[in-house]
Subunit: 243 residues, 2 copies
């Protein structure tokens, strides 16, 4: 008697045959942290296909018929960096009809965290890919600047609640480096005493005997992330909560 938004009697699940297929891509915001420079970076490369060939772009690919989106995101990550088994997470979908001038493409935004010291540099170079500091991202193809911004915001959220920062550091790292990493991610200064207190009080960091003397005469103790202890804590219902 009202609400004539649609005919209730019409079939309201379109059949598979009537539906129009769409190109689906993954775009992967690959983050890395350079412990020397103490900078958070994103891997970009020059797009190879028209339109907009030659412009900087995120690492992406179409999702193939025989792979899930997760696998596709993993595939291109491995292809460009040689790395496998790293932190990789879907965070947003971009489906505006006209976002890609080449065709109607729905893009699945992923972000991954890798250890710069473990990447295969020859591979990165062979694709003419380049690491850009998060503050110096050039104008990118399509909506990729937006995608990076969204990824960074999620990285910030996630960093507060999960110990994912360790995916960006070498196996062994010092507390000062960890602090610098968090400051880069959060884009704000943190009190070093309170940070140290908080992060060590959780109990998932093991101090090694070894020290890193590359930055000071005194040297800073190396620490290692203890995954087992972290899983125990999670089982007990613990959830990290940084400011």
């Amino acid at each position: 008697m009202s609400a004539n938004t649609s005919k209730p009697t019409a079939k309201h699940n379109e059949s598979y045959k009537d539906a129009k297929a769409i190109l689906v891509a993954v775009d992967n915001v690959i983050f890395g942290f350079d412990p020397q420079e103490e900078k958070l970076k994103v891997l970009l490369f020059k797009r190879q296909v028209d339109p907009e060939a030659g412009k900087w772009s995120l690492i992406g690919s179409f999702v193939q018929a025989d792979e899930s989106a997760d696998i596709a995101a993993q595939r291109i990550l491995t292809k460009f960096t040689g790395l496998d088994d790293v932190f990789l997470e879907h965070f947003q979908t971009y489906s505006e009809v006209d976002r890609d001038p080449g065709a109607r493409v729905i893009s699945l935004g992923y972000y991954s965290l890798i250890r710069l010291d473990e990447q295969k540099e020859e591979l990165v170079e062979s694709f003419h890919a380049h690491w850009f500091h998060i503050d110096e991202i050039p104008k990118l193809v399509i909506d990729h600047n937006q995608i990076i911004q969204d990824a960074l915001r999620l990285l910030q959220e996630d960093s507060k609640r999960k110990p994912i920062g360790f995916n960006l550091l070498p196996e062994k790292f010092t507390i000062p480096k960890l602090l610098k990493l968090y400051q880069e991610i959060m884009q704000e200064q943190l009190d070093d005493r309170n940070f140290r207190k908080k992060i060590l009080s959780v109990g998932y960091l093991d101090r090694l005997e070894e020290k890193d003397k590359s930055n000071s005469k005194k040297g800073a103790y190396y620490y290692q992330f203890n995954v087992e202890k972290y899983f125990e804590l999670v089982k007990e219902g613990y959830t990290l909560q940084l400011p």
Copy 2:
């Protein structure tokens, strides 16, 4: 000289022509709260197309060539409930190759929050859709049970950080009802005194003079969510944080 994961010289952006298009659907987990029953519910309907026609399913549709996924999710929501301009959010993507036995379909999971008192009941009924209490969801088609579970988890997370609960209540509501709603969402008991203190201290609830006497002789004051005050708070950097 290592990392032979792929030929660096090969084109590493597949051209648009080589890519295979994929069916893309949205599945919308529509939440409603019945203030009388004090139950959180999800809208489901009987799937019309094979395979698995006749089984209970989320409200979904394929994404059309001329619409974004957001619009598609909005479209089916309006079609089934008559409602427009409600809380609607994408939360996850389901892209396993064999998830749908009918074809390769990538599904975008959405969840929406509606006011049960505002839905067009004739419309809901005309589609033979039905509201199921969150604890009594039947076995659904494909991976839809999983999708609901994921949606509920996100609703719980979001509820702690954003004042989205108000999207499930009538314009005017009492604190006891709001408490019951939060308890339904969180699936746990909350201390009523602390809850009241916390939620009122934020300052985005306006007390009306009117009382709801349907549940007690004394009557409970009606409150209203004040969007303007909330936006002001957000601008000042405020973020809600419930236990």
